[in-house]
């Protein structure tokens, strides 16, 4: 594709430079807040992760690499042999697995929903978007307890099923991994729908028609026209769902019955009853690292596919 080259005049360059300068200036307050509020605590955490745990919580200001050592390795308390910290690894793995599943389910449900909204007439779309944001009006904890009320043994679903004689005994739904998945999907679904909608709204539906005109099947139109065009929305939505799921704390605790830890719960244990702040800090930074790797992976992926279809 060729575009006409256009030489900027000296005044235009100057105006542009001034504008860029002003934009930076306007950004400064936000950058300062983000910089101080995000990196300040992180630096403290990083520093703490190399200290010695205080006897009753807190830290002693004395260097120690034990915190980091314990993230990955485990000195068996009974035999003193050193091995991989399989307890930590399995907790990490569970968190990553559940977050990935949540993201996928959100995508599967969110995609058609966003498409539905984007294809409504202009004046109706705000209504549907409004419906999507309604859950945000209520506190997360209350929504989680509401789900519990629906799926517990004497909850709505089981009561309805037993009263119309489909089942004799209640089905155990609460306190399973499926319950956590349902809860997290419900909580994070709007975060998937909104960015998806944002990119679908800009979708040029003439392209879809063109696809059909060229005898593409519906599936092919979806695969080769719609998905590539809304990819940025898919990536943004997936990131927005995956990251908070990874650190989710309340939902697994309430719906999962607290029997199996997630990363958030493991970190909380170290700062609370475990009284090992350096280990807690090291675990938190490890979580941050996983998130960063996931982000890089997504971004790289998005760039690659973006180039392919340009």
């Amino acid at each position: 594709m060729t575009t006409e080259q256009y030489q900027l005049s000296a005044t235009e360059v100057k105006v542009q430079q001034q504008q860029a300068k002003r934009n930076w200036l306007l950004c400064t307050p936000a950058l300062i807040i983000l910089g101080v509020a995000a990196s300040g605590p992180l630096l403290v955490m990083f520093y703490y992760s190399f200290l010695t745990p205080g006897n009753y919580g807190g830290v002693e200001f004395e260097f120690s690499s034990q915190g980091w050592f314990k993230v990955f390795f485990n000195k068996d308390i009974f035999t003193d042999s050193v091995g991989i910290a399989d307890a930590h690894l399995s907790i990490f793995w569970r968190s990553i697995r559940l977050s990935t599943m949540t993201t996928l389910v959100c995508l599967i449900i969110g995609f058609p929903t966003a498409y539905f909204i984007a294809t409504r007439p202009q004046k109706d779309r705000n209504f549907w978007l409004f419906m999507v944001t309604i859950p945000f009006w209520t506190n997360l904890l209350i929504r989680t307890f509401a789900i519990m009320e629906v799926i517990r043994n004497k909850g709505i679903i089981n009561n309805v099923l037993t009263s119309i004689d489909i089942i004799d005994a209640p089905i155990q739904m609460l306190y399973t991994d499926a319950a956590i998945l349902v809860g997290m999907t419900y909580v994070y679904l709007p975060l998937m729908i909104l960015p998806l909608y944002a990119s679908m709204e800009k979708l040029d539906f003439n392209l879809i028609e063109a696809g059909y005109d060229l005898y593409a099947t519906r599936f092919r139109v979806l695969k080769q026209v719609i998905i590539p065009l809304v990819k940025p929305g898919v990536v943004a939505g997936s990131i927005l769902v995956f990251i908070p799921s990874l650190g989710a704390f309340v939902t697994p605790r309430v719906l999962g019955g607290g029997k199996r830890m997630m990363l958030g719960n493991l970190i909380e244990l170290q700062f609370g009853q475990g009284r090992n702040w350096p280990l807690g800090a090291a675990l938190s930074i490890t979580l941050l690292f996983i998130v960063m790797v996931a982000l890089l992976f997504y971004v790289k992926n998005a760039q690659k596919s973006g180039l392919k279809y340009d």
Partner: protein, 344 residues
């Protein structure tokens, strides 16, 4: 004539004044959530012309961390027995000498000279209770006075058991079940404790708080939990009973102490003295449903608490109850490892 101040400013000034009320003083109580009877507070406010503000916390560790950080503005705190020595050793408490206060004579002998605060130089009793076994007897009718209910569960209860998610309570209960003493660092025994807990876990449904509703709805049939909750569960499900493990069970007591950097020391001391009177102590218990350690408070308690087996420990089980101590850092480290492995 134009007034020398504008309206919004006057409004702010009025709000500021009304928030301190017309009370002569203030008192800031830092206590566990859902634990303080509002009637008790109103009564104290009226008796001493003091405005009381309550702030909640949810665990000993978070309270300790917050106060240690400073700048909290609290006057009173309510640590558990196994944390009291930490508070004292860290120099966070004021030696307010409750033992010399007028109402100290009402404190029950068992609690007048506890290990965690010898001579009661810092703290006064608030409430105490036990970590026992709650069972729905319509599901299981056998002996419930044993930790086997959750560690070696009978067939009927499997898959319907909850365990309180409190590391120290659970591990000390399992240690006592296997014949050891709480806070032990005996590795051979701890290995058995770990194996026992890991083996028992597949039989548990959950490790969660908030069990009262679940016993009412019969989602749960058994739990390792605290006695006050057992009482409240029985009110909603008459088949619920509370058992005291004969192998040993933990006792706890929360006591009110004045902070060293308190702003309202005199009012705080007044409050300590106030809650040692039997009538006021009964108000504390009437709300959260735990016993309080003040002699003569029983007669002011609600009728349904006077002979409740959850509140009054039956004579035959009294000896098996042990107050939890502060475990050493080594013990805590071992227990955290076991706890993490249990929940991996």
């Amino acid at each position: 004539m134009k007034l020398p101040y504008n309206k919004p400013l006057a409004a702010i000034a009025m709000i500021a004044m009304s928030s301190t009320g017309f009370a002569a003083g203030e008192l800031n109580l830092f206590n566990w959530g859902n634990y303080t009877n509002p009637e008790l507070i109103t009564k104290f406010e009226q008796a001493h012309d003091v405005k009381v503000t309550i702030t909640d916390y949810d665990s000993n560790d978070s309270a300790l961390a917050k106060v240690k950080a400073g700048g909290h503005g609290f006057d009173l705190v309510v640590p558990s027995a196994n944390y009291m020595q930490i508070w004292i050793n860290e120099g966070l408490l004021l030696e307010s000498r409750p033992d010399q206060m007028e109402n100290f004579k009402h404190v029950h002998e068992d609690f007048a000279n506890p290990d965690w605060d010898p001579g009661r130089r810092y703290s006064v009793p608030w409430q105490w209770g036990s970590v026992g076994i709650i069972v729905d007897t319509s599901v299981y009718s056998g002996d419930i006075n044993t930790a086997a209910i959750y560690l070696d569960p009978p067939e009927e209860l499997k898959g319907k058991i909850n365990v309180a998610p409190e590391m120290n309570d659970v591990i000390s209960s399992a240690i006592m079940y296997l014949g050891g003493e709480a806070c032990t660092t005996d590795k051979e025994l701890l290995k058995k404790v770990r194996d026992k807990l890991v083996d028992a876990k597949p039989n548990w449904l959950s490790m969660d708080y908030g069990i009262i509703e679940k016993f009412a709805g019969r989602d749960l049939a058994a739990s390792l939990y605290w006695n006050g909750a057992a009482f409240r569960a029985r009110e909603k499900n008459p088949d619920v009973r509370y058992g005291y493990p004969k192998e040993g069970y933990a006792l706890w007591m929360d006591s009110v102490a004045v902070l060293k950097d308190a702003q309202n020391v005199e009012n705080a001391k007044l409050f300590q003295n106030f809650i040692m009177s039997p009538e006021n102590a009964a108000l504390i218990s009437a709300f959260a449903r735990y016993a309080n350690g003040i002699k003569g408070s029983e007669e002011f308690m609600p009728d349904d608490m006077k002979d409740a087996p959850e509140i009054i420990i039956p004579q035959e089980f009294v000896a098996a109850g042990k107050f939890l101590q502060t475990c050493s850092p080594e013990a805590t480290q071992l227990y955290t490892a076991i706890w993490t492995e249990l929940q991996k």
